[in-house]
């Protein structure tokens, strides 16, 4: 409200804890310290949170400088609501393990699907990993 009434701006969000979702799927949680006109972000005491199912694990990362174009969305974290979470927090190793398993399962299912499709004579074009446009 102070700065740009009627517009969307990150200025009021400074020095508040935010959750940032990046284009590569990572979730960062940190205190937003600085911005610029491109919405490049400086996050302080950043933690990368990995979610697998109902569990999550935090990896402390320190200071992050994120280029604005890589941000999908970000939002302020309500510190009160953060305390009561349904999700279960686990250790880093465990969550990475879970993530790996999940990845493998996904790949397996993809492979089976592709095989089934091939058997029927169809072909699905492989989507690029970079699904920008």
């Amino acid at each position: 409200m102070n700065y740009m009434p009627g517009t969307a701006s990150l200025i009021e969000d400074i020095d508040k804890k935010h959750l940032v979702l990046l284009r590569d799927g990572r979730t960062l949680i940190g205190i937003l310290r600085s911005i610029d006109q491109f919405a490049n972000l400086v996050l302080h005491q950043t933690v990368e949170r990995i979610h697998v199912g109902k569990k999550f694990g935090d990896i402390p990362r320190g200071i992050f400088v994120v280029r604005g174009e890589n941000v999908v969305l970000l939002g302020e974290v309500d510190l009160d609501k953060e305390c009561d979470q349904i999700l279960q927090r686990v250790s880093i190793e465990e969550i990475l393990e879970e993530q790996r398993t999940e990845q493998q399962a996904k790949q397996e299912s993809e492979r089976l699907k592709l095989q089934a499709v091939k058997e029927r004579g169809l072909s699905i074009p492989k989507a690029d990993t970079l699904d920008d446009f």
């Binding site: 409200m1 700065y3 020095d15 310290r33 610029d36 006109q37």
Partner: protein
């Protein structure tokens, strides 16, 4: 995560690695010390100088200093300032001491050895320098403090650079190191040289013009303020550019610097050396805007460094207080950077607390009033009203719960890393995007939305005065920035300077004309075509007006209708006139018509135009078309769009009189051999059939018609039939449609046999009557 090296050193990690290799370093050494390459054993020289220095020190300070100088360095380095031999030093300096007239010498000695507290710290500084470029030192086993320092710190380039530097004022008492003061060495060199003919000494003393070590002071604050600005652009002179900013547009705001730094900043010339030689007394800003958290806490919490705060203000500033503080500080800085700074030391705390004191208490409403700047935002008044309402609500709500939030936030030491100024800067950039010269063009939906809301509110409530304000948007003039590169008369080419605002063309494309005759002809053709298109375009605009006439007619009030009608008439006349070239004839100018019709656009134009022309004129156009049909057909081969004309032509034909119809048929047949060509073209055939059918219709419907008055019609039809029979089927193109009454027409004029032939050929049956 990050290992912060102590950046007090100038050396890099790579250079550190060089320490071990003796041979390499020696080589470097010889290269760097030019004299060393020429001269003999540098080791001797070093030893001598070391003695000299030591002796002088002993002479002035007693052994105490010497011992401090002689601190052995931490391991692995040969740069220990070991004890120089006193004997050799006496050889070098006796005359200096003795000579009274050598002012320079005196000043030199004083400088080197005198009461300069910087020297006292040499031991410590050189310990910092322990990892400095070893290639320079050349591993003198026992460097004197003097030579040792020189060799420790110098890089060859720095030497050269500083040789050219003028003498610097010696007032740099503030610094920790001797290096800033040692600028005074350079003028001495000349003096000494005259006195001493020792080349090696000269070389060494030349070296003594030492580099300026960037002041450590700024480092202690956590960052060097000048590093925030990218180096000034090297190629943007005033000529030809828009007003040059020393700082490119995209840079974030710097901290409010001292006056001196402002001066430096305003140089448009790049400074290659970060020599702060001319910086006089430099105090740390009293309340640096960017405090590292450690600093802030220490400053805030240490009771001894400044006069106690007014009672009631805790040692750790609350979030809001700090924000206010910075706000006021920014304000103060903007007023005048000098006064707060020169109050010196940490005592500057006081003025900042003054104005912010009374504001410390209630912080709800003041924050609420900061809000909308009326000069930067161009909001719709309705929007602004809504925002005000919202803010008031929030302000009331916050006032109660404000303290709780404030308490929670008061322990964040990293807050306000982004200063007020920076926030404003970002906000300003974002607001720039909202400026517009035509809000209805740029932000149509926004404007409409708020207007609707306004109307709705007006409807719901009773009409109040305040809601009927109209939006007056400030018109931001769109400035035309056309840049012409500067060119001096008679010079070859253009200036090579370029900047962000005036990028230089990489390729100067020059049009070269081809001198071929054929090319010329081609060009002529193209030019002509362009001209035709141009004419067509112009006619189109007229046509569009004519077409819109009806709509306009219905909309204009009664009294204006006459004027509109007149206008309409003139337009149509104009259109027709453009088809005629010469005024004397009622005929449509062939040339013009042909030209226009040769272009696809022109054909379309004519087809749209025909309905609007009055009868005689339309007929004339049609005549023209018929007359030139072969040519048109030829030109239409690529486009095949003549058939667009069928519809309007039909309409015209049906309104034609018999004589004109006959004339038309005649035109169509025109010169010898025209008809077969006509028959080859689809449109031609269609046209022919249309004419014939119309004639038939006339004959059959109106027994009194004048078609048969003269023999022309009959004759023409005869010739047509003759031609139709003669022409091979392949050369006869099928029409768009076949009028049903052709059979009856032909049955009038030809005998049965021929009729059957015709029927077969034209594939018309008697049934299609």
């Amino acid at each position: 995560m990050f290992h912060f090296q102590s950046f007090d050193d100038d050396c890099t990690l790579e250079e550190e690695g060089l320490v071990g290799e003796e041979d390499e370093i020696d080589q470097f050494n010889d290269d760097t010390f030019g004299a060393g390459a020429i001269d003999d054993d540098w080791q001797e020289e070093h030893a001598r100088l070391a003695e000299l220095d030591e002796r002088v020190r002993d002479g002035l300070h007693g052994t105490g200093d010497a011992s401090s100088v002689d601190l052995p360095h931490p391991g692995g380095n040969a740069h220990s300032s070991a004890l120089p031999q006193p004997s050799s030093s006496s050889q070098l300096y006796p005359d200096i001491d003795g000579r009274g007239g050598g002012d320079l010498a005196e000043s030199l000695t004083r400088l080197i050895l005198g009461s300069d507290p910087a020297i006292a710290g040499v031991g410590t500084t050189s310990s910092d320098r322990s990892r400095l470029p070893p290639m320079l030192s050349g591993q003198p086993p026992q460097p004197s403090a003097l030579a040792g320092q020189s060799s420790l710190l110098l890089s060859y380039q720095q030497q050269q650079r500083l040789l050219h530097r003028g003498p610097a004022p010696l007032s740099q008492i503030n610094s920790h190191s001797i290096w800033e003061n040692s600028m005074g060495f350079s003028p001495v060199s000349s003096g000494l040289v005259t006195q001493k003919e020792d080349k090696t000494l000269m070389s060494i003393i030349k070296e003594v013009g030492l580099p300026n070590r960037p002041p450590t002071l700024s480092r202690e604050e956590g960052r060097d303020l000048s590093e925030r600005v990218p180096p000034p652009r090297s190629s943007s002179p005033v000529i030809g550019s828009p007003p040059v900013r020393a700082v490119p547009i995209g840079t974030p705001p710097k901290q409010p610097m001292s006056l001196i730094h402002n001066q430096h900043q305003q140089n448009n010339h790049p400074s290659t050396v970060h020599v702060r030689a001319s910086v006089p007394l430099r105090y740390p800003p009293p309340f640096p805007e960017r405090l590292s958290p450690n600093n802030l806490l220490s400053i805030a919490n240490s009771p001894l460094s400044h006069p106690p705060f007014p009672a009631g203000v805790g040692p750790v500033l609350s979030q809001i207080q700090r924000a206010q503080l910075l706000n006021s500080q920014v304000g103060q800085f903007q007023r005048g950077p000098a006064p707060p700074l020169l109050q010196g030391g940490v005592g500057g705390f006081r003025p900042f607390f003054g104005p912010s004191g009374p504001r410390v208490g209630p912080h709800g409403p003041p924050l609420g009033h900061a809000p909308i700047r009326h000069n930067t935002t161009h909001l719709h008044p309705q929007h602004r009203r809504m925002l005000n309402q919202r803010m008031q609500n929030r302000g009331l709500g916050d006032h109660v719960g404000g303290r709780g939030v404030g308490d929670r936030k008061n322990r964040d030491p990293y807050s306000n890393l982004m200063t007020q100024r920076e926030k404003e800067w970002v906000a300003r950039i974002q607001m720039m995007q909202l400026q517009s010269t035509d809000p209805y063009l740029d932000d149509y939906y926004y404007q409409n939305y708020y207007e609707k809301m306004e109307k709705r509110q007006e409807r719901d409530r009773d009409n109040r005065k305040e809601h009927t304000t109209k939006l007056i948007t400030p018109q931001v003039a769109k400035l035309e920035h056309t840049y012409r590169p500067v060119q001096f008369a008679g010079s070859l080419g253009k200036l090579t300077v370029s900047s962000v605002n005036n990028p230089r063309k990489m390729i100067d494309a020059v049009v070269t004309t081809r001198s071929d005759d054929e090319e010329k002809r081609e060009k002529q053709v193209w030019n002509k075509r362009r001209q035709i298109l141009y004419t067509v375009e112009k006619m189109y605009s007229l046509l569009l007006e004519v077409q819109d006439f009806e709509k306009k007619f219905l909309q204009t009030p009664e009294h204006q209708r006459d004027a509109l009608l007149e206008q309409h008439k003139t337009h149509t006349l104009q259109l027709y006139n453009s088809l005629r070239e010469k005024e004397w004839d009622d005929r449509v100018s062939d040339e013009q018509c042909l030209m226009i019709m040769s272009v696809r656009k022109g054909k379309r134009l004519i087809s749209r135009l025909l309905p609007f022309l009055p009868q005689p004129q339309a007929a004339a156009v049609l005549m023209g078309i018929a007359r030139n049909l072969p040519a048109l057909a030829k030109k239409d081969k690529q486009d095949q769009v003549l058939c667009w004309l069928v519809e309007p032509v039909t309409a015209v034909i049906q309104s034609m009189s018999s004589t004109s119809l006959t004339d038309l048929l005649q035109e169509l047949q025109g010169s010898e051999g025209q008809l077969p060509l006509v028959l080859q073209n689809k449109f031609g055939v269609t046209l022919l059939y249309l004419i014939l059918s119309e004639g038939e219709r006339m004959q059959s419907s109106d027994p009194n018609c004048q078609l048969m008055d003269d023999n022309r019609w009959t004759e023409l039809v005869f010739s047509v039939t003759r031609e139709l029979l003669k022409v091979p089927s392949s050369a006869l193109s099928s029409p768009l449609f076949t009028p049903p009454n052709l059979v009856s027409l032909f049955s009038r004029y030809v005998d049965r046999q021929r009729l059957e032939l015709l029927q077969e050929k034209l594939q018309i049956t008697a049934l299609s009557r």
